[in-house]
Subunit: 247 residues, 2 copies
């Protein structure tokens, strides 16, 4: 059996009980080294199979091998939700025609954990977009950013920048600024649920040049109804609270 | 102290450990009756304050009263994630100027739990849209559906239909069909994590007239890369697995 498990945002108590129990009862835990390091102290008796970034395919093949050839119960882990830019899809694809039973165990994805730290920015319709152009052409990403503006969605950005693509976030903000007010409220959270967690709320024109934005960040760009009150980013849902409530 | 807690999809082990510990240690649990019923057996010694649908404002006022006037630790609960169409935003708005400390505790939202049941449909960029036009005009919802098509996003639909709005889902599908192939792969999950959980995968032209779609459903509409294999809905992320993998 292979479970593809989302371990939630960094900290161990951000995992669901279902995910925790599976990691406790499985034989083998497979994952990207950095994510396995976040959980391994809690499951000391497991066999751990880890590798590096961009070795997702090999990870799935290892999971399949342990489940199929050695008849082990395997947990293949992703941080956040395994179904959002995680291992779920690739595992299903790699296991095609293998008759291997696979179960996807969801977790709290970064859009939702970041939102909880910033306030309540996802109270209305939102999009989730990755700025990684390793597997999606930039033209498609750019088209999606434009469509997200046209729909006045709140926009959650994953993988905003990395060493390989340092300018993607700035480029994305330039596209957003063609359609959205430079005063649009935005926020980022860095190292969600981990040591060094930090966040900041600012305007779109400021976040464009914010040097903190890197691959450890999740960014949320407000819609036209998002506002900031007392250090919290809130997207109004539309309750009638009287005119004096919304500043 | 007020915690606004997302309890995840229906079943108790879909809750994060953090959420569970807060419900265990708080004094008062406030929530919509149906959601409180899902958790109350696990926390028998609590004071429960429940009310009906559309009484969200009163729920927040009760939470604030117990925290502020009676100095209690209050957990205000939402199913799924409290920050997605949940109680987080309204609670922050109601508590303005009260100096009340409020902490948002995220949970697994229905987009992610539904996706895990259908397969891996959210492996690429997606939008979350509610079809409830109680607080958002239909013109805005319709504009967002159109924008979601233009960006070729996977589309997660919350509140697809209800007794008050039986035709919204059909209307939404008619908009989607102007832009998307009638053969687009889609799925719904009904009663996620609860008794009577069921799901089905079908095409967009079929789901438009599917009589199962009601307020207990979450619907996921694929993008142009979503396909179905062995009963699972998968959105390709773009890994190079060789041409023979993707059917």
């Amino acid at each position: 059996m292979i479970y593809v498990v989302g371990t939630g945002s960094g900290k161990i108590d951000g995992m669901t009980s279902e995910a925790f129990e599976i990691l406790k009862s499985c034989d083998v835990i497979v994952g990207y080294k950095k994510y396995v390091d976040l959980v391994k102290d809690y499951f000391p008796d497991k066999v751990f199979i880890t590798n590096g970034m961009r070795q997702e395919l090999e990870r799935c093949e290892q999971a399949l091998k342990f489940a199929k050839e050695h008849n082990k119960t395997v947990a293949l882990i992703s941080s956040g939700d395994s179904g959002v830019y995680g291992m779920a899809g690739l595992m299903l694809e790699v296991a095609k025609d293998s008759n291997q039973e696979i179960k996807i165990i969801p977790g709290v994805t970064a859009a939702n954990s970041a939102a909880s730290i910033l306030g309540a920015p996802l109270m209305n319709d939102y999009v989730v977009i990755s700025l990684s152009d390793l597997m999606t052409d930039w033209e498609i990403i750019d088209k999606r950013l434009k469509a997200a503006c046209e729909g006045d969605f709140v926009i959650c950005i994953y993988n905003p920048a990395s060493n390989h693509r340092p300018l993607n976030f700035k480029k994305a903000c330039e596209t957003l600024l063609k359609y959205k007010s430079p005063k649009t409220n935005c926020g980022y959270v860095r190292n969600i649920g981990r040591d060094g967690e930090e966040f900041e709320i600012m305007t779109l024109e400021k976040i464009k040049d914010c040097e903190k934005i890197d691959m450890l960040c999740t960014v949320i760009i407000g819609n036209s109804q998002s506002y900031v009150y007392d250090g919290k980013m809130i997207t109004a849902r539309g309750y009638d609270l009287g005119k004096n409530i919304q500043s």
